[in-house]
């Protein structure tokens, strides 16, 4: 009886993630080309950083976190910018490709802290 | 730093001493067997746990009845078998108590 219930529970969330499609694809800049859907982009910030996130948009580029790829993707982002954001930091943001530029979802920018125990968030709220 | 190494060596020696202590204290023991519960002991333990469970269940039943979670009819139906189970468990333990030389009155519940 117990085993059955656990199996049922498992089935529920496998179904959910597969069908309801709550999942987002995560890509690095070198993999981004051609993906026109809504995705999460993971990368390292490359300068120069210009513009205003609360104005027309913050502009910068990202490259792969690791590996030898030299592909960089231009980003336009509006919304909260975490304090830890600067050139060289790892970031994640969701959005989609418009032409050659990746337009980030408002407030979706999340910066990872280089040190182990300190997170830094954009604006996801609980 | 040699001080560090000396202290480290001291630590190691102390550790070895502590580990060897049982052997140093009893270089030629009469009995080096690790005590483990024999069949009799295991059975007794089972029965004691059985007894404690039965007595606790009776107490719970009383309490549930008093606080209104079990109706009078259900209480009457349940209390009989539970009392019998508790009595059986107690009885099963008695023969063992007789075989013990130093008899201590066993405490039953509260």
């Amino acid at each position: 009886m117990i085993a059955l219930s656990v199996a049922a529970a498992l089935a529920v969330f496998i179904l959910y993630t597969a069908v309801v499609g709550g999942a987002t694809t995560q890509l690095s800049p070198s993999e981004l080309a051609g993906h026109t859907g809504h995705v999460a982009l993971v990368g390292t910030v490359v300068g120069p950083v210009s513009g205003d996130a609360h104005g027309a948009g913050l502009r910068f580029r990202v490259k792969d976190v690791s590996g030898t790829s030299r592909v960089t993707v231009p980003i336009v982002y509006t919304g909260s910018v975490p304090d830890l954001f600067k050139v060289g930091r790892h970031i994640v943001l969701t959005g989609r490709l418009h032409g050659a530029t990746f337009v980030g979802d408002d407030g979706s920018l999340v910066t990872k802290c280089p040190s182990k125990y300190a997170p830094a968030k954009g604006s996801s709220s609980t | 730093m040699t001080l560090a190494l000396v202290l480290g060596a001291v630590l190691a020696v102390l550790a070895v001493l502590l580990v060897a202590r049982p052997f140093l204290r009893e270089p030629a023991p009469a009995d080096d067997r690790l005590a483990e519960p024999g069949e009799l002991d295991r059975r007794r333990l089972e029965l004691v746990e059985e007894r404690d469970r039965a007595l606790a269940a009776l107490k719970e039943l009383e309490f549930d009845h008093r606080t209104g979670k079990i109706s009078d009819d259900d209480y009457r139906a349940l209390v009989g078998p539970l009392r019998r189970a508790a009595a059986e468990a107690l009885r099963a333990l008695e023969p063992r108590a007789e075989s013990r030389v130093a008899e201590r009155p066993t405490r039953i519940g509260r």
Binding site: A9, G22, P119 | R66
Partner: protein, 666 residues
């Protein structure tokens, strides 16, 4: 002095390996002195680990930058308290903390239970095995005692870590995580020594409860830190690192409940072995998650070599545990069966299923990116909507069960009696629901359900205390207050448990209020001085900026006046700090605790333009959020009551397991 630290750790490694090998041999071949020797090795290991820990602490206090670890995590200007807390701020130090707590717990647990010779004989090697892994890592893979030419000053500590909550959060978590090793070791010890009795549960009952409490408080501290220090307006983001602590906690919660069933009815023996192992394995897995960089998380780590080792250890322990449980399956046969689906045992079972389901769902969510990458070559991840869905699906019924459980009798509940006992709580729930809808809070279904179920649970808990007190008065003729205290004193576990349930209740209400019913506003073009904004009845007026120099930071603050209905409520100062040593900005939020809704008015200075004085302000109103922190205190209170030593019970248990009566007459 680093050599001393390294030497001490090497001695520790030798000792725990000896405890593992000699202990196993002694238990298998039944050699008394060898078993005692292995036990001593485990005790000594605590001493040597303590020496290593002291070396590191002293180095941190003295800012001895020849220790690479000290140079990486402290600086001369760092206050002493934070410098000491750097002990667990980095990879190597945190492993040392883990080993320190493990060896301390092991020594204590083994010492306290030394009379259960045959059981402890097997517990020692299991503890030795776990300790050996951590000692190995510390000696050969990730040592805190690496020396290097000392730099002029250390790298300093990230400003957001310089916070009292961050001081307490990791040690609390570790006291919890590591604590789960003890019941696991005793469970495996019982299986290895072929014992079929409940001694291992009795011996570790308080350990489990204590570890579970520490883990819970550790998580609350972490959440509170994230709330006030990181300040994005939330306290939990379903980040893998946060989930890493939640999963073992959920498994331990399930275990705490199902163990009660095993004690009362002799059922669920296999399930309990599985649960205690799950809790332990998840705690190791959690440590692995936080360090290995395997899953993309807000805590970014380079692909650390540690990951492989941890994974290997987890795989080894999982395989060994599964094998052992399988082999000893015949010993774990149940004595009785579930008599009725409407009984307290059954509600505990449902509770267990829901908790484990939630735990596995979270595990799935954490592992999903790894699995999709491995299977499909494309990383997909889930986020808040996924977790929220399952939190509601499993959490809400769990909440309800918390109220139903106490109302149902053991073994078999009378359906008729159910009607009577359920009546008042049901009424409370319905009345609350209707009232809330009337007041306009029907907008959020999960929120409404949480509040309604909470009313049910609250009524049921109050009734339990009420009925129990009355029963006590009838039996013993005591006065009301006396009956109440003697009721609780005689049933510490039950009523302590109810207090913990009350804490969980407050937690649920706090979470619902501050998420389902929160309001957020952030003016898109920012505010200029003297401009104002409205949110949930408050008016916030931005007055201007001010800058001042603090000890190690330049602080910029915006002055914001808060009024409600025309009268001044408070003045808030959200802003940012700039730390020149660490070259880092930090967000400094400003919070007003509103007694009217037990919630917070939370202001974040998202962006400040010093030239134009434009302030991009984000404001959140989070009703009832402070209940979450209050719940933490009540949680501890309930646990302490449940754990409080009971002389009568101790006597009974001592007599039950007294070895003297056993061997006499054989």
């Amino acid at each position: 002095m680093a050599e001393l630290g390294r030497a001490a750790l090497l001695v520790t490694f030798g000792l725990v390996v000896y405890a593992l090998v000699a202990g196993s041999l002694a238990a298998w071949k039944r050699r008394r002195r060898l078993a005692l020797s292995a036990q001593n090795a485990l005790l000594a290991a605590f001493g040597t680990t303590l020496v290593a820990a002291t070396v590191l602490l002293v180095a941190l206090a003295r800012r001895d930058f020849t220790f690479q670890y000290v140079a990486q995590h402290t600086s001369r200007s760092l206050p002493l308290g934070y410098a000491l807390s750097a002990f667990w701020g980095g990879q190597e130090g945190s492993l040392l903390l883990w080993l320190l707590i493990l060896s301390g717990y092991s020594a204590l647990a083994v010492w306290l239970n030394r009379r259960a010779r045959d059981l402890v004989a097997w517990v020692v090697p299991v503890l030795g095995l776990v300790a050996a892994f951590f000692a190995f890592m510390l000696c050969f893979v990730s040592s805190p005692f690496v020396v290097a030419p000392a730099p002029g000053d250390g790298a300093g500590m990230v400003p957001s870590l310089q916070n009292p909550y961050m001081l307490a959060h990791p040690p609390m978590l570790y006291l919890g995580y590591v604590g789960l090793t003890i019941p696991f070791a005793f469970g495996m010890g019982a299986l290895l020594s072929r014992r079929t009795d409940e001694r291992w549960i009795v011996a570790t009952r308080r350990w489990t409860l204590a570890a579970w409490t520490f883990l819970g408080i550790g998580q609350l501290l972490g959440a509170h830190w994230a709330y006030v220090e990181i300040g994005w307006g939330g306290y939990y983001a379903w980040d893998p690192v946060e989930n890493a602590a939640l999963m073992p906690w959920l498994a331990a919660t399930a275990f705490l409940h199902s163990v009660m069933i095993q004690e009362k009815r002799g059922m669920l023996k296999v399930w309990n072995m599985v649960l205690v192992s799950l809790a332990f394995l998840l705690s190791i897995f959690g440590t692995f998650l936080t360090r290995s960089g395997v899953v993309n998380s807000i805590h970014s780590f380079s692909q650390s070599p540690l990951g492989g080792w941890f994974l290997g250890f987890i795989a080894l322990m999982t395989a060994a545990t599964v094998a052992l449980i399988y082999i000893r399956l015949p010993l774990l046969k149940a004595r009785t069966r579930l008599e009725s689906l409407v009984s307290r045992e059954a509600t505990f079972l449902y509770n267990n299923l829901l908790l484990v389901a939630l735990c596995l769902t979270i595990l799935w969510g954490v592992m999903y990116p790894l699995l999709t990458q491995a299977l499909r070559g494309e990383t997909r991840s889930v986020s808040k909507p996924y977790y929220d869905f399952f939190l509601h699906t499993f959490g809400l019924p769990l909440l309800l069960l918390m109220g139903i459980g106490p109302l149902v009798a053991w073994r078999r509940a009378s359906v008729r009696a159910l009607g009577r006992t359920f009546l008042v709580p049901l009424l409370a729930a319905v009345v609350t629901g209707v009232a809330l809808i009337g007041v306009g809070l029907g907008g959020s279904t999960p929120g409404l359900l949480t509040y309604t179920f909470s009313a049910f649970v609250a009524a049921s808990i109050v009734l339990e205390f009420w009925r129990g007190t009355n029963a006590r008065r009838a039996i013993a003729g005591e006065s009301l207050p006396r009956a109440f205290t003697s009721l609780v004193a005689r049933n510490r576990r039950r009523y302590g448990g109810y207090v913990v349930h009350a804490a969980v209740l407050l937690l649920a209400i706090g979470i619902a209020g501050s998420s389902a019913y929160q309001t957020v506003r952030e003016p898109a073009h920012g505010l200029r001085p003297r401009q104002s904004m409205e949110i949930a009845g408050y008016t916030l007026t931005y007055r201007g900026l001010s800058t001042r120099q603090e000890a190690d930071a330049q602080a910029t603050r915006a002055t914001v006046d808060v009024t409600r209905g025309g009268s001044h409520v408070t003045t808030l100062h959200p802003g940012k700090n700039w730390y020149p040593v660490e070259q880092q900005t930090s967000n400094e939020v400003s919070i007003y605790h509103d007694p009217r809704n037990v919630g917070d008015l939370f202001t974040i200075a998202d962006q400040i333009d010093p030239k134009s004085q434009v302030l991009f302000l984000k404001v959140l109103v989070k009703p009832l959020v402070n209940l979450i922190w209050v719940a933490g205190f009540i949680f501890v209170l309930g646990s302490v009551i449940a754990m409080w030593p009971d002389a009568v019970e101790q006597r009974r248990l001592a007599e039950r397991y007294a070895p003297a009566a056993m061997s006499a007459g054989l």
